[in-house]
Subunit: 361 residues, 2 copies
């Protein structure tokens, strides 16, 4: 088992990475001071892991909420289901929540924990690669709004994260690939050496080799934890974690949540950000090809959906939350291994990138 | 104009108290860095003050949301109305919100500001006595849930508070009295001298004498600001601000939001807390009578509704958020001017207090 720390002063917390850490009653009880614990999970994850977590909570007053699976359940309505159950059970402000599932469950439960009685403790047990390397680290919680992704949320840190690599054995290939998009992102924005390692070891990862996975998750979490420790509330460098996300969110919103997985949309967005970086003279054609090639090898889409035209795309991007006072600002790449801070981009260049991809998906 | 500071480190903010401070474009612009500003108010307040605030926002991109008046609109649905409008207008994470109204508007808009894109700045312009002395100070924001008051919320501080005493001229008598309940509370929990001043000056306050009002608001805000500075997240002494509130919330929830004003329910709750304190041997009968008498003179109810029986009352109190791990804990009075920290109380004594009042409302 590896232990990392996300350093945020009094809000610091550990990430435990390893096989079967979710069964560790010792780890859970070390971070649970509450006698009342609610586990929130979904219908896919519950049959696989809920029993094991339940056994680790022996002696606590427990409750469970099992939601349907999917991004469309990352909603204010799902948060209300959690609040209802907490109140029916008379769970107090000293209760704790456990998020057992992927990014949807993690973001939703983190938001519910942030808001229930103005904040109760929670623990993340991410069961997808995406959640282990991204959404469970850094305290961004949110639900979606029909008009935009993650529009309603809070910065709220968990008590700890248990990233159990053995849960990835049961993960569908498509979900696994979506997680790789964020893994590759860390190499692109700040860790060239890791990018090269990924090029050399991608087949090992796709084969779910335990050692390769542990290394990739650890290195991803270290990268993210360093960025978050430097800029918890995203006033500066944290924004670089959003490489590809403004493009990607537009795809997710425009196509309806759930038709594209978050990581898939981000993969496409990374390609568009790379293309725009090339147009600005920063990336050469070879680097762009190298990025696209690695994403393709990870079995990720690299072209946007055919039915999203340029004007609709721009409209969807304009409400993305990364924009300062109405101006569209994007994260781009100076080179592989170094991202820019958010910057206003020339609309014509952006149109050129969107047109390049328009209708080719 | 009086200026107080709520001292919370980097989250510190000023409270400006005085006649016509809401018209001060200078004060507003000093605390508004955003070019996009949304004013949220209600149908009662809008015709009185919205124009004046709008004029102070000259040069900004503004939007307005006018909600119906009443506690029943302090809901997640109203928050969604605000989010919808922010998104339709493409307001970014650098937008600011202004809460123009009483406690319902303040709590709701504070919560919306805490959650929109994970937090945008907001300014409080409280237009009721209750909001000026209580809900606009301290950063507690929330909406109600059908099963309990303030169950969904956040600790989130405003940029500043503009407490305009001239807005109280138009306040209905019943609303004004409800505000006095919280004013009297400050005397009871930590400021005996202020309690004595209130006994001597209550008629001046009821006559809305400007100097008496300014003094009472200032002294209330100083008391609250001191408590909040000591304990922002209510792990200790801040809980004393909830004197009478666990009883009161049970009345509000049990009778349906809106049938009792918050301050009215708190006034009844204060009487019950005083009665229970007497049963524990802390308050003498004279002190209890003195408290009840001042509340009566402030034209506040001092008996609970007849149709709330003891068992229903206990059930409603048990979900109140002041309870630690399922145990009912109440704020009581050691004497006039000193409250206890939340303490578990003997169920039989509590039943005696509730029965004392049962069916007499």
């Amino acid at each position: 088992m590896k232990t990392l720390t996300v350093s945020l002063g009094e809000r610091s917390y550990p990430i435990y990475i390893g096989s079967r850490v979710l069964e560790s009653g010792e780890l859970l009880s070390r971070h649970l001071s509450s006698s009342q614990v609610m586990v929130v999970t979904n219908e896919t994850v519950a049959p696989l892991y809920l029993d094991r977590v339940r056994q680790s909570l022996d002696g606590k007053q427990t409750a469970e909420v099992v939601l349907p699976d999917g991004e469309s359940y990352k909603s204010i309505e799902s948060a209300m289901v959690i609040f209802d159950e907490l109140l029916v059970r008379k769970f107090s402000r000293d209760a704790s929540l456990i998020a057992l599932g992927g990014g949807v469950i993690g973001d939703l439960v983190g938001f519910a924990a942030a808001c229930y009685q103005r904040g109760v403790p929670f623990i993340q047990i991410p069961t997808t690669l995406l959640a282990q390397v991204d959404s469970s680290v850094g305290g961004k919680t949110a639900v979606n709004h029909p008009r935009g992704k993650n529009m309603i949320g809070a910065f709220y840190q968990p008590q700890c994260v248990l990233a159990d690599t053995s849960t990835l054995d049961t993960l569908a290939d498509r979900e696994f690939s979506a997680g790789l998009a964020e893994v590759i992102k860390y190499g692109l924005i700040r860790d060239f050496e890791f990018f090269v390692w990924l090029e050399a070891n991608l087949e090992m990862l796709l084969g779910r080799d335990a050692d390769a996975l542990t290394y990739a998750i650890e290195r991803s979490c270290i990268n993210k934890a360093e960025v978050v420790a430097e800029d918890e509330r995203e006033s500066g460098v944290r924004a670089t974690l959003n490489l590809g996300h403004t493009f990607g969110h537009a795809i997710e919103t425009g196509m309806g949540y759930g038709s594209y997985l978050h990581g898939e949309a981000v993969a496409i967005g990374i390609c568009q950000a790379a293309d725009l970086s090339r147009r600005l003279g920063w990336l050469d054609t070879d680097s762009v090809e190298r990025i696209i090639s690695l994403l393709r090898r990870a079995r990720l889409p690299v072209m946007p959906p055919a039915d999203l035209d340029v004007d609709r795309y721009l409209d969807l991007m304009a409400v993305d939350k990364k924009n300062v006072a109405g101006k569209l600002r994007l994260i781009l790449l100076e080179k592989i291994g170094r991202a820019t801070l958010p910057m206003a981009v020339d609309l014509e260049l952006l149109r050129a990138t969107l047109s390049e991809y328009d209708g080719r998906g």
